[in-house]
Each structure stands twice: as C-alpha cells, then as structure tokens.
Amino acid sequence: MHGVQKIVKGPAANRFRNEDLPGYLFLAPWIAGFLLFTLGPTLASLYLSFTKFDLLSAPSFIGLDNYRFMFTSDQRFGNALRVTFIYLMFEVPLKLAFALAVAMMMDKGIRGGDVYRALFYIPSLLGGSVAIAVLWRQLFQGDGIINRALFALFGVQGPSWISNPETSIYTLVILAVWQFGSPMIIFLAGLRQISPELYEAASIDGASKSKQVWRITLPLLAPVIFFNIVLQVIEGFKAFTPAFIISGGTGGPVDSTLFYTLYLYQEAFAHFRMGYASALAWVLLVIIAVFTSISFFTSKYWVFYEDER
C-alpha cells in the first residue's frame, strides 16, 4: 500500500509522455465497474442514510434523524462498537503472531511443508460453514471438550465460555485466530524474500537464533507485517460471519457478541430499518478510513523499506 506514493513519485512521473488515453482505456473496465457497482450503490446508500426506509415501502427523507438517534440514544450502537473494538484488539495481534510463528517454523524447506500448509489452511476454507457453528458451541459449552481438558490438565472448572457474556467474545477471537491461513501465506511469501546470506553472515558473527529473529527477520518483514495489520484491521471491522453463525444471528448472550456489522444486519433485515442501517454503514466506513490513515501515518516510524535508505 505504501506503493501509492511511490508509483507517483517514481521515475514514471518524470516522463514527459502523455499516456492519458491508454491509461483510461486500460482502466475502462475498472472505471465502469466502479461507477456502476460501487459508487452508484454507495451514493444510493448515502441517500438512504438520510431516510426512513423499511425495505418494503418507499423511503421517506428525514434529514439527520438517523445520525442523531445513533449518537444520542442508541445504546446498542455504542455496545456494538465496544464489542468490535475488543474483538479487534485481541484478534489482530494474536492471529498475526500465530500466523507469523507458524510461517517461521515452516520456512526454509521443512519436509512435508506442502501438506502442513494445506492442513493449516483448512480452517480458513471451512469459513462460515454451519458445521463450524455447531461444533464451536459444543467445544465451548459448560461440559464441552475445552472444559474437560482444562479439568483434566489443571483441575479447574471453566465457565460455559460461549454462553457467558463475559467470555463469549473470546471464543470468537479464538475462531478468528484458528483461521490464520491467509496471513500465514502472506508471511511465508515475505520470509522467502529475505536472503539466506543474511542469516549465514549472522551465524558466523555468532548471533543466536533469537537474535537473528529480532535483528533480521522482524525488521525486514516489517512492511509485510504492516500490510497484514492493515488488511486484518479492515477485515476485523467488517467481520460478520463468525458472530452471525455462532450466535444464530442474535449477537448474544446479552449482546456480548454483537459485532457492528451484525447489528447493522439486524437493523436492516430483521428490524426493517434499512435507512438506519445505511447510516450505521457510513459511520463504519468513516471509522475504518480513520484507522487506516492512522496506521499509514504511524507506519513511517516503524516500517523500514529497503529502498528508502
């Protein structure tokens, strides 16, 4: 993503040749698709966010009422934001740490690497399957396997993780961490780009394995880590399926797994308030945009690009 600036500042910008026409021609499918399938519907939803629209009859314009209600009286809105932030705070770092650890373990040609990678990718392929919903509830219920294992290993009796409002969100965090396939693939690709000579040189200098990780791997991987963070944060804000399938669409117990998008979905399709749901969507869009800009701004201080020396 950092490429944005560089494309423009790169040598291409200095060239005198005008490539407007070919540029627009190559971009034509994208521009058409963007106008038709993205911008049009998005602007339509912006308009809908200023209306009362119950899906079944025509929308009626109500000005800023939806936004006013959201920020003054809607407690579920605040709660949904809180739930989403808690989820993000745990899900993003844990998932990335896990994906990175596994990727580092599998880097440098371990035998059967293909099979391991494929096995580790299975959870991501299972995605929003109904089977996962049933299974997850069985694993994390009061006398589920998790608690039986905890009892056998440590002699503690755990709560019914999935139905306790204090703990239910963490079962969704675990679900997300368990589906670490895509960042793992990206990390593997990043690791492959680090030249083995660097490690050899470090070994000769007597640097320990852990020192090599801190001094070589992580700094050189910083751009990839950054890329994964941005992607995961965006995906995290948009997360919908896990909470939807596991709580049966309720976001319960006591709204403890009411993701923002799940609330948005409930308002739109269960409570017939598409106007309000559109307003919720626009607020989410602004929040994601703010967070993405913050990450880009702070990245200057910790993401090190080789070609910026």
Binding site: M1, H2, G3, V4, K6, I7, G10, A12, E19, D20, P22, G23, Y24, F26, L27, P29, W30, G33, F34, F37, T38, G40, P41, T42, S45, L48, L55, M105, M106, R111, D114, V115, L119, F120, Y121, I122, P123, L125, L126, S129, V130, A131, V134, Q138, I145, I185, L188, G190, P223, I234, F237, K238, G248, A268, M274, A281, L284, L285, A289, Y305
Partner: protein, 291 residues
C-alpha cells in the same frame, strides 16, 4: 570412517539440527491435530444418525454407513452434481474475468502515466473498506432492473470489471518489480502500451496471475451471500447455498446429510489449495510486498 566422523563439530551441528527438525515436526503435527479436529468431527458426524450428533462427541462413528452421503447427494430437488456444476461455472468465469480485468487495471496503475492516477488508485484501495451490506439493496435493484436476477450474471459480470482491489494491488506491486528497461526497449521498437502489456508484461507475470486466479477461485467457491441474494430457483444454487437448505433452525434439519455434503464440498477446494499453494506463495513473494 566416513567424512562426518572426521569433523565432530559438523556432526554435532547436524545432530542439533536433526533434533530441531524433530521438534519442529512435533510442534507442527500437534498444531495440525488442533487444526484438523473440526474436520475430523465433521467427518465423524457425517456417518452418525441425527440422534447421536448432538449427544455423542466421539470422533469415531459407530459405523461407516455411507447413507448420509447417498441420501444427501439427492436430498434436494436437484442433485448435488448440478450444484457443483453451477459453482464450478461461476468460479471459472470469475477467475477468467478477474485475472483479465485486474491485470489491465494494474498495468495502468503500474506503468502508465495518466492524469488522476493517484486519485483512482486511492479510490480503488478504498473499496476494500466498504462493508458489503451497504451496497446490497441498491445493487440488487440495479441487477433486477437489467433483468439479471436469478442468472449467474450478477455474480460473474462484476468480476470482469476489476472489482478485486487486493488482486490489483498485488499485480501493481509485481508489475513494478519488472525491469523498466524491457518496456523502454520495446517502445523504441515501436510497441504501444497494449503490445507491451500483452507481449512483455503478461508473459513475465505468470506467478502473480496464478496467485490471483487461485485466490479468486477459492473465494468465489466459498462465497455465500452473493448467491443467496441473486439466485432463486433451486436448480441455480451453488454448493454453499444448497448446504443452507439442509438446516431449518425452527424445525427438522438433516444434520447427518448436511455434514456429509459439507465434507464433500470441502474436498475440491482443499485439493485445489494443496496442489496450487506453491504458486500462491511464489506469486505473492515475487510481487515484492515490501513496497
């Protein structure tokens, strides 16, 4: 005496790394079991009668009776061969459309110097942030008005319009890593942008095109919401959509059949991933995410 015995230090090193390998394998196998548990559970459940699925957590089914598979395959009005065919057609068309249209857009962003490029690129990346529930109803109305609802077109045509920002981004990165001298040489030979794209950039970009193709296939195959909204008649359903017709939370559900068909549904994408993963990693690695 072999060579290693003459070099005790090297032998020790080899031993140490052998231990390391064993440890790594042990860790990876342990992790695999955790990763695989749900799959095993699903497989075991697919052989159980419905009355046992919720009370019996055992991973070993009472028998290997394939009833659920046979009955599940034909449980709906049309058989699963139809659903697989539908999924396959949609996924293949999506792959073709996505690879062609995204590579065009990516070439423009990576190599052409035109006004508004920065703005377009930013807009393109911003589409990553859109929550899809927002655009759902307006999009539906649009497709309905052009008469595309209950056909595959709403699921396929947008793929021909470079809607996949992630793929474009990867391709932009990859194209930028190709040496510019090639273009310049071609330009001097009188090649226009189209021929440079077609004769030079595309042939050199097979790894990233493969990556985009594979990821598109996987994502399209698993997509559920699009087919749910746009496909009506059961004979047009895709595999993930058909699976939702097995469960009625307010009434009877064919659980055993659901798990049997879910297991089968996983097989093609698992194999697909198993065989093509090297290409994915290669493609991403060579695109040089480093920026």
């Amino acid at each position: 005496m072999n060579a290693e015995a003459l070099h005790p230090s090297r032998q020790a090193g080899a031993q140490k790394s052998a231990y390391g390998a064993v440890l790594r394998h042990a860790l990876l196998i342990g992790a695999s079991i955790i990763m695989l548990y749900p799959l095993l559970w699903m497989l075991a459940s697919s052989f159980k009668p419905d009355s046992l699925i919720f009370s019996d957590m055992s991973l070993i089914p009472p028998s290997l009776n394939p009833r659920n598979y046979i009955e599940g395959w034909n449980a709906l009005e049309v058989s699963f061969s139809r659903f697989y065919w539908n999924s396959f057609v949609i996924a293949v068309l999506a792959v073709i459309g996505n690879v062609m249209s995204c590579s065009l857009a990516a070439y423009a962003f990576a190599r052409l110097n035109f006004r508004g490029r920065k703005l377009f690129f930013a807009l393109m990346m911003a589409t990553l942030m859109l929550p899809y529930h927002v655009t759902l109803i307006p999009q539906y109305v649009l497709f309905l008005n052009i008469g595309w609802v209950d056909t595959f077109l709403p699921l396929v045509v947008p793929k021909f319009m470079a809607g996949d920002a992630f793929a474009i981004f990867l391709m932009v990165q990859f194209f930028r890593s190709l040496p510019r001298e090639l273009d310049e040489a071609a330009r001097i030979d009188g090649c226009g942008p189209w021929r440079i794209y077609w004769m030079i950039v595309l042939p050199l970009s097979k790894p990233v095109l493969a990556t985009a193709a594979i990821l598109t296939f996987l994502w399209t195959w698993n997509d559920f919401f699009g087919p749910l909204i746009y496909l009506n008649d059961i004979s047009h359903y895709t595999v993930p959509l058909a699976l939702r017709a097995f469960v009625d939370t307010t009434g009877l559900s064919a659980w055993g059949q659901l798990f049997a068909m879910s297991s089968l549904a996983l097989a093609p994408i698992f194999l697909f991933f198993l065989f093509f993963q090297r290409l994915i990693i290669n493609g991403i690695a060579m695109s040089g995410l480093k920026g």
